[in-house]
């Protein structure tokens, strides 16, 4: 490559990068037309392309950018009033520049004179300009940049300095084989390490240290080289959505979030395909025309938000709009009339089930076929494409309020920082993003802070009860050493649920390179990937969602309910399930549970008509949770201990005596009143029916009957 070629290459890459930003800025300008900083930025982008064109002798492209610069200058000086037409013309200019850049790349010439329509449109805006305040100044400024003679050496310096920050294109195959080679290197490194360990203090040891450091850094660099910010995809959408909307006389504003999240290239490609379909559908079907929006009391500008986030080895991309939403009934009727579903089957579906139908092949709900999103092709393809890379998509919608599409893709081959947990001689990686803390519980803390009642093992952590699950027990592997001295627990927060994983020990954190699971292991659902540790051995990455499900810490899906039965604000609630002294299933909201205690019968005292115990320097009133909540019968004879749920209430702490503690579950409770009993509501949770206890109502009833 000659020096000229290099300069040209740098010019092309920098200009293209600049155009991406310019496009975003122009769309942004529509909402902030008078922002001098933004205008300045746009002006500078166009200006720098123009300047380099002059230097490299691309006259046609130079003329094109010059015209754009004139319009921008007029906007900047206030001689021209901004309107959407100007934005369109400037965006066309960006397209024109792109075409020229492509031509330059192919032929080294900037081709024919620029599209006359683009120039004419820009000229039209210039004609409306107020006269220039000082024409001579403007001409000077332009000349000083255009002339290669005057600006020559400076320009050359600019271009060379760009070499340091610019990127080069690398074939993905090269990256793939680099990855495999580094993997092999790491294996050999492990073997060398073993040899070095035998030869204490020798030269080999020093060499091995060096090898370890260099290969470690190499591995990391290769990994990072494969990552691409999600923004390379999402940043295209403000422009795409704007143009689509404009073609349908709609207005739309696109908000982006999480653009910096790095994902593997392949994942990004799958995301791009899915998002194009979604955004087209949203602009075409979802967003209403401005008049309709105004009539609905909405902002005439439709809102579209594309937000990416990263959780536990998955990337979530939420695409939400504030459009008209999707009518589940219409989707269902459409599916029936298209012959995809029988009427009876459709009637049996709830609202969410109806919405799911949009992912069926051959379904389109828009009455008319439009040029933009066509008919019947789309959502099924979107889902299929995402599933191909191990992802998925879900939809939620409210009529008149908008729609949310939740895309979820794996970070295949991405790096996730992980905590390494040792359990029964094996190592497991737990995604660090979900790890809240690691706690070491000595014998004292085990006694004081961990309640082990029935099958539930709960750890009291700063005012909340955290269910503990034993990894060795869950995995069916024998624990290497029984732990009389205490336990180590990794406390994790995953999708709103907190639980602790009891492990043998926790090692140094690692940057785990996620490799996809093989088919037979994927079906276990407890692991999300495999990684290769520094010694070359494979280690499994724990899927917290799957682990929690397998251990029954949380319910996979709330029980299906008919729409009219849904609570006004359905929230996931965490419930303690217990069996009452009368054998009845009871549920107490975890938020009101203070502690679980097992009390020796001898501690029970009689006072004021009810049982009490001495508890934390006060008397704790006890209620037996029998069918008759105010029953005065003593606890069943023969039991040495009674289990007590200590709850907070408005009159202080109260104790609920139960036969046994069952479990902690979370889910969406579906209450219905229990006839004739205050303080109780029947509730279905995790497929089990229990009576939900309202502690306040219980206390009130007890006060009355005293």
């Amino acid at each position: 490559m000659t020096e000229d070629d290099e300069i040209r290459q740098v010019f092309l890459e920098e200009s293209r990068e600049g155009l991406d930003q310019l496009e975003l800025d122009l769309v942004e300008l529509e909402s902030r037309p008078r922002d001098p900083e933004l205008l300045g930025q746009i002006y500078r982008s166009v200006h720098s392309i123009k300047g380099t064109c002059g230097f490299l002798g691309y006259d046609h492209l130079g003329a094109l950018t010059h015209r754009g610069e004139d319009v921008l200058d007029a906007l900047r000086s206030g001689r021209l009033e901004f309107d959407p037409g100007i934005a369109t013309s400037l965006l066309r200019l960006v397209d024109g520049i792109r075409v020229s850049l492509d031509t330059i790349e192919r032929t080294d010439e900037d081709g024919e004179e620029a599209d006359p329509k683009i120039l004419a449109a820009l000229d039209e805006h210039l004609l409306r300009c107020a006269p220039e305040p000082d024409a001579a100044d403007a001409a000077d400024a332009t000349a000083s940049v255009v002339s290669p003679l005057q600006g020559g050496s400076g320009q050359a310096l600019d271009i060379r300095s760009g070499l340091h920050e610019s990127s080069i294109r690398v074939d993905v195959d090269v990256l793939d084989s680099l990855m495999d080679l580094v993997g092999e290197l790491v294996l050999v490194r492990g073997k060398v390490g073993e040899l070095a360990a035998e030869e204490e203090g020798g030269e080999l040891v020093a060499c091995y240290r060096q090898l370890r450091r260099v290969s470690g850094e190499l591995l990391e660099s290769v990994m990072r080289a494969r990552l691409q910010p999600v923004g390379t995809v999402t940043r295209k959408f403000p422009r795409i959505a704007r143009d689509l909307a404009a073609s349908m006389d709609k207005q739309i504003k696109v908000e982006l979030d999480g653009e910096d999240i790095g994902v593997d290239r392949a994942v990004n490609e799958a995301l791009a395909d899915a998002l194009v379909h979604l955004v087209r559908n949203i602009v075409d079907h979802g967003i209403e025309p401005p008049s309709e929006r105004l009539a609905e009391g909405k902002n005439p500008d439709g809102r579209l938000r594309i937000a990416a986030s990263h959780e536990g080895g998955r990337v979530h991309v939420e695409v939400s709009d504030d459009g008209r939403g999707i009518d589940p009934q219409r989707v269902a009727s459409r599916a029936v009339s298209s012959g995809l579903l029988t009427r009876d089957a459709a009637d049996a579906l709830d609202a969410a089930g109806c919405l799911e139908l949009i992912f069926l092949p051959g379904l389109s709900t828009k009455a008319s076929v439009t040029s933009v999103s066509g008919r019947g092709v789309g959502m099924d393809a979107v889902r299929a494409n995402l599933e191909r890379v191990g992802g998925g998509i879900e939809v939620e919608s409210e009529i008149g309020r908008g729609t949310v599409f939740r895309i979820d893709v794996p970070l295949t081959l991405a790096i996730i920082p992980c905590v390494v947990a040792h359990c029964a001689g094996a190592r497991y990686c737990i995604p660090q993003a979900s790890v809240r803390e690691v706690v070491q519980l000595g014998p004292d803390e085990l006694r004081d802070a961990v309640s082990e009642i029935g099958s539930a093992r709960l750890y009291r952590l700063r005012g909340g009860l955290v269910p503990l699950l034993d990894m060795a027990e869950q995995f069916g592997t024998p624990r290497a050493t029984p732990s009389p001295d205490g336990i180590t627990a990794v406390i994790v927060d995953y999708e709103g649920k907190r639980f602790g994983i009891v492990v043998d020990a926790v090692g140094d954190p690692v940057e785990a390179v996620v490799k996809p699971l093989t088919r037979s292991i994927r079906s276990i659902r407890v692991f999300s990937g495999v990684t290769i540790m520094s010694d070359g051995q494979a280690a499994l990455i724990v899927d917290l969602d799957g682990l929690a499900d397998a251990a029954g810490v949380r319910t996979a899906t709330p029980p299906p309910v008919a729409p009219q039965e849904v609570l006004p604000s359905p929230e996931l609630a965490s419930m303690l399930l217990a069996t009452g002294t009368g054998g009845r299933s009871l549920a107490v909201a975890m938020s009101s549970v203070w502690r679980l205690e097992r009390v020796h019968r001898d501690r029970l005292q009689r006072g004021g008509g009810i049982d009490v115990i001495d508890y934390e320097d006060a008397l704790l009133p006890l209620f037996r949770l029998d069918d008759d909540i105010a029953a005065e019968s003593p606890p069943a004879v023969g039991e040495q201990h009674v289990d007590v749920i200590v709850c907070d209430s408005s009159v202080g702490k109260v104790g609920l005596v139960v036969q046994s503690i069952q479990d902690v579950v979370s889910g969406q409770p579906v209450p219905s009143p229990v006839p004739g009993q205050s303080g109780m509501a029947r509730l279905e949770l995790d497929g089990r029916v229990a009576d939900l206890l309202d502690v306040e109502a219980l206390v009130a009833v007890a006060e009355l009957t005293r």
Partner: protein
């Protein structure tokens, strides 16, 4: 006469042959990471130069009693159904050259889930019977 070549292995009392062109390589004594909660035939996963490979026990696939120790076992690396698996066998024998015409059908008396993996039986000279294992006949499915 065109003959076919098979890599042969001992799996318990059985002699199993896999077409040579299907065997990518044979390794011994790699580090296997056990996978909890996996189907019984899955012994774990291993790292083969950066590639993650499922380790499948040939004994369990073929309904042979478990071995006492993994000492002396060989890992036969095979690509099948889009993934790479490592089939654990007891002892590696020589390559056998057989006449396809001498193939005999797999008797019906063999358990269906085992029979499915086998395509033919060859008598090697006066020696043992060689069971021909077809990796594509659901070797990975046998583990789910």
């Amino acid at each position: 006469m065109t003959t076919r070549q098979y890599c042969t292995f001992a799996v318990g009392e059985l002699m199993v042959g896999i077409a040579v062109e299907r065997v990518r390589e044979i390794i011994s004594d790699p580090d296997v990471t056990p996978v909890p909660m996996a189907p019984p035939a899955v012994l774990g996963v291993l790292n083969l130069r950066g590639e993650i490979v499922t380790v499948i026990d040939a004994r369990r696939c073929l309904g042979v009693a478990d071995r006492d120790s993994v000492d002396g076992t060989s890992h036969v690396i095979i690509e099948t159904e889009g993934e790479t698996v490592s089939l654990v066998v007891d002892t590696q024998y020589e390559v056998a050259e057989v006449d396809p015409a001498s193939a005999q059908p797999v008797p019906e008396t063999i358990r269906a889930d085992v029979r499915r993996l086998l395509s033919a039986i060859h008598e090697l000279g006066d020696g043992p019977l060689m069971l021909v294992l077809e990796p594509d006949h659901g070797l990975t499915a046998a583990t789910t």
